[in-house]
Amino acid sequence: MSVLSLIVLLIVAFLAGVDVILDEWELAQPIVACTLVGMALGHIGEGVALGASLQLIALGWMNIGSAIPPDAAMASIVSAILVCGPAEVSVKEGIALAIPLAIAGQLLNIFVRTFVVFMSHVADNVAAEGNLRKLDAIHYLDMVVQGLRIAIPAYLVTIISTHAIQAAINSIPKVITQGLSIAGGFIVAVGFAMVINMMANNTVWPFFFIGFVLAGIKSLNLIGFGILGVCFALIYLQLSPQFNTTVAPADSKGAPSAEDDIDAALDDL
């Protein structure tokens, strides 16, 4: 690995570490992070392939409330180094390795987020002085720690000898590697399940099944699905009585008056 590659790689790792906590630019999402590592190491194709597969697995990893999800940055960056770097681990093995890496990253993240509690108290003291500049410094420092949380492990992985990595991977029995590679196709379902679990309610379930059945039409691509989905949403919102309360009274006013007419007619008889 050339010095330039290494520097670019470490910058990417650092930014992914910062952004996985910020959750703003989404540089740490596997599809972006793995592609960037692939670019740094001159194997874009492998990076994109790994990133896309990991992206589907990580769909449901989100920062909600105080729960810390498996760490997308550690998983993407380190497994992309193994796949796109001189060790040339296969994409399938890279996917299997990404999961334990995500958990290792999650643990480190718990440490850092606990450390920042201490920094938060330092910030209180700074606030008491009314010193905005020091508050900035604290904030930047916290982000640097988050960046190093990924950049340091990334560097450590690059200094392990290629032979050691390959020997370690080759020593795993075939049953395990094949089984993990099969499971790689399964675990996408966990990501889907997490997202569905969050959105699902009685109103929206039917749309899931419409999508499921239409998936059988192979010529319908995702852009087509996007257009259909937006149309379904708009039609539902237009027709749903829940959002048409202003129209409903007008109708109900109309109905009794018609009945009144009939009543009057009946009275005449």
Binding site: I99, D124, G130, L132, F186, F208
Partner: protein
Amino acid sequence: MSEQEQTNKPNDGQLQLTRHDLTASFWRSGFLQGSWNYERVQNIGFCFQMEPTIKRLYGGDKKETAKAMKRHLTFMQTTPVMSSLIGGVMMAMEQQRANGEDVEDTMIQSLKVAMMGPLAGVGDPIYWATIRPVLGAFAASLALSGMGVVGPLVFFVVWNAIRLASRWYFQKLGYEQGLNVMHDLSGNLLQKFTLGASILGMFILGALVPRWTKVNMPLVISKVTANGHTTVTTLQDIFDQLMPGLAPLLLTFFCIWLLRKKVNAVWIIFILFALGIVGYMFHIFG
């Protein structure tokens, strides 16, 4: 700049945030979660976002600056994008307070607390559970179907366009409307948007589950030889005849069921790893 300075101190010395302050807050808001911590979550980041406001309104006064910093270092937790709306309202409130209007410090704080929960309630499902996964899955399938770098590029550009536009619009809305924003929010608009986004998301997920979950079961169930032709029926064939994509669907429901039983997602992944290995050993999966 001079133009802004003029509009800055027009009538009777009223303090007003400049366009520069609004832009600075907008950029700073993108660092909201940098100091995420277990105790007060996004507190430092929110104060960081409020800095241009604090500087403009209480700049020369250390005591007032300290008080303002303390107000904005309290517990803060919402969907990151929504911090722009809260920030906008806070900017309007702080401006009123600095101009001597009757705005109590406790009111600013309680308003922040009142806003962050409900806004996370709409923000999380829209941004985290719908836009990002749908876009991510879309980009991933572009990349996997041979489009390569287009996938990540589409993801990065579209996501950030949505995010930056949302942040800019929310901050503007909050600053201009101030407290009235709560009235706007209680209307149907956000509910409609959330429901519409979930319909789109569920529909797309319905399509993604059978397309991207790979379950292959080459286990041979029967082997019939008739007229010299051998017909092999595998477990996969049976599933496919029942309904294409049935196995991925059942697998997904199994995962949802486990999630509802409060099984950690990472454990579910390990359960599936075990299933893959055991299934391969007994030649059920391939």
